[in-house]
Symmetry: C2
DNA sequence: CTTCTATATGAACAAATGTTCATATAACGT
DNA sequence: ACGTTATATGAACATTTGTTCATATAGAAG
């Protein structure tokens, strides 16, 4: 029986966000219409506006939610004294967290320019928070004399860029297991910052 | 004096491509209209169709041209015996080439999903050619016993991802000179693949 | 000067866009 | 059983979209 008007649906909201996530990741924010999102949910376009004030908010909500998830998941990791161990922990966390959410990650990197200036600033602040986390580890390592990086800011961005790259090619069930991928990347990161 | 109809303009073609390049990089392919491109050139939208059959061709032309430039510039570099030297050459080339063309690079990475399947395949083939170049260097180094990389394919993608990251933050006239940037990245790449 | 051709205009097209709103109705509280 | 309310419809809106085409004209060729 088709969903008819008036029927309650406490799950329509999440379904809209899921549909938007999938479609934005697949075709890009600007290329996806509200009608496509509605169609994916099985509803008319007008109904979307019971759950979001506009299309822009839909995008912002997705990106902000993703960054919140990232930061709170990361906050669950406890720091130890050893900078090398902290770095290893970071690399493993980053790879696994990002590979589990390819669509969110893709959107968070590709759709920044489609945010309004205020929304962009908000997301950027969260991203910087995350980067500062890694930079802190690198600085600690330098202070402890276990890392040799001439510029911690550049090294931070370089490491993150390298790790993000895994999302462009890794497919579960492929040639390499998640553990192997993690080992390979950790090996490169470790050496890259080594003495 | 405003440009009027009928006036010749053997430079309109290049100007259209430049305008499309700038606008696509700034707002994204899907978010830019033919009228915006025409406006940037100072012409009506209809005139664009004297130079391109459609919007998609405009995008494809930009990306294909960029990849051609990349491959022929790279072909100018001569390989030597020493794999480490070849790698250093590659890193320097990549950073400088990409920093000189931020808009083209941005488009080449962000707008892949807006290509038709055939156009996408063509661009991907060119990209793989470039990646194979680096992978060949890494394999040589492994064979020579000067590199330790467990998986040359992954290492190739990791190195390129790391180097591409520089485009997201480097601004000429900023804190670091181009030479410094090159040195820092070369240092990290060298160590990452070292024994 | 005349003819020809390349190039630009500007109006027109159907289709698609984000968003609004009056209307309808299914489920919940009483 | 009944009224209330949250939720969905579907039509409507003003714009904007990519693209086409008849028309006009400036400059090159003769």
């Amino acid at each position: 029986m088709a969903r008819t008007q008036g029927s309650h649906s406490d799950i329509t909201g999440p379904r809209i966000h899921k549909a938007a996530l999938k479609l934005f990741a697949q075709h890009g924010y600007a290329a996806v219409s509200m009608r496509q999102i509605a169609g994916e949910v099985g509803v008319q376009a007008g109904a979307l506006y019971n759950y979001t004030p506009d299309k822009q908010s839909l995008l912002f909500h997705l990106m902000h939610g993703h960054m919140d998830d990232l930061l709170s998941a990361r906050a669950g990791s406890k720091r130890v004294k050893d900078a090398l161990e902290n770095l290893r922990q970071f690399v493993g966390f980053h790879i696994r967290f990002h590979l589990e959410r390819p669509d969110e990650v893709f959107i968070a990197y590709m759709e920044l320019r489609n945010l309004t200036p205020e929304n962009f600033a908000a997301i950027e602040a969260l991203r910087r928070t995350y980067e500062n986390d890694l930079e802190g580890i690198l600085r600690d390592g330098v202070a402890q004399g276990v890392f040799a990086v001439p510029d911690t800011k550049v090294a931070t961005l370089a490491v993150i860029a390298m790790l993000n790259g895994v999302n462009t090619w890794y497919r579960s069930g492929g040639r390499l297991s998640l553990d192997q991928v993690e080992t390979i990347y950790w090996d490169m990161v470790r050496k890259a910052v080594a003495l």
